[in-house]
Symmetry: C2
Subunit: 183 residues, 2 copies
């Protein structure tokens, strides 16, 4: 037997590629190599629970790898730069979609509204904090943090729409420069 934790990454990929509605149990079964029996044994509440767990896993990953470092950084500017590194790697230059963003746009938004809001709110807050500690005004930091997170999401959309990963990389580079400039 495998625990839930070790199949969450594969599960996440199915949701990313097909969305919540499009991720059918047969797709999930194929992707995980588990039959329905096993899936419903691990996730008694079915697909909704799978998606909730995946969102929680993603949230945990961002918390550990982006938000916490941003909050704890002694050198905030370096932490922000590290965040961009992590973002570029995680989203594979825009070829990998942000599942939380996809959920936010989809019809199942209300079901996961809490998790979605929390993910973005904490991202913005952590980034804004780091920007403030690197010398910017708090209000300007918050505004810039919002812009940065939105730009990342938009760059994913645009890179996929144009089928041009370079768009994503260019956007990240431009953001680095804007953030490095004095507030």
């Amino acid at each position: 037997m495998r625990g839930r934790a070790e199949l969450l990454p594969g599960l996440a990929e199915v949701f990313r590629e097909h969305g919540y509605e499009g991720a059918s149990l047969s797709l999930i079964s194929r992707a995980t190599g588990l039959g329905k029996g096993s899936l419903y044994n691990l996730f008694p509440e079915g697909k909704a629970e799978m998606a909730a767990c995946v969102l929680a896993e993603i949230d945990g990953w961002f918390e550990a790898n982006l938000y916490a470092p941003l909050r704890a950084a002694e050198r905030p500017a370096a932490a922000v730069s590290a965040m961009f590194d992590a973002v570029e790697t995680y989203f594979r230059s825009g070829q990998r979609v942000c599942l939380v963003g996809v959920v936010a746009l989809g019809s199942e938004r209300d079901r996961f509204a809490g998790a979605v809001r929390c993910y973005f709110a904490r991202w913005i807050a952590a980034l804004a904090g780091a920007l403030t500690r690197s010398g910017r005004e708090p209000a300007a930091s918050l505004a810039l943090a919002e812009e940065v997170v939105a730009q990342i999401q938009g760059a994913i959309v645009l890179a996929r729409a144009l089928d041009e990963p370079a768009v994503f990389s260019r956007a990240m580079t431009a953001l680095r420069i804007r953030v490095a400039a004095a507030g």
Copy 2:
């Protein structure tokens, strides 16, 4: 009988709210008030044709209301400002989703790849042209245009994720200021 044109807006709303896969024929039937017989009479190729027509309609609207004015403007700065007005109205401060962006993120992206790419490429090109004619370097104009379009898409995601339309309005205001600043 009603022609295809007059039910495209309602059809578009169904696709926006439920995505391509989620927009079932029964939903479409209810939203348009037409039975399957009528729908397949108007769109012999079924759902795919409906979606293609909706995308074409959206593309036409943006061409007429945003791209063409941007290209033809004698006062490019005013045209850019008018574009932001149109965007804020069209997307209802981020409460209405960009169907083309949703398709770009979804699994049916390949099916509509041409239309999606065309929509965004023309938007960026028209905006970059206006920015150039208002005195910016061509390369800088292109980069800024890309950023602006990405920011709009990201602001929609963020406004919906946080369930806070003000996020969208703030983002648009910030973009206006950035664009108005000297290149």
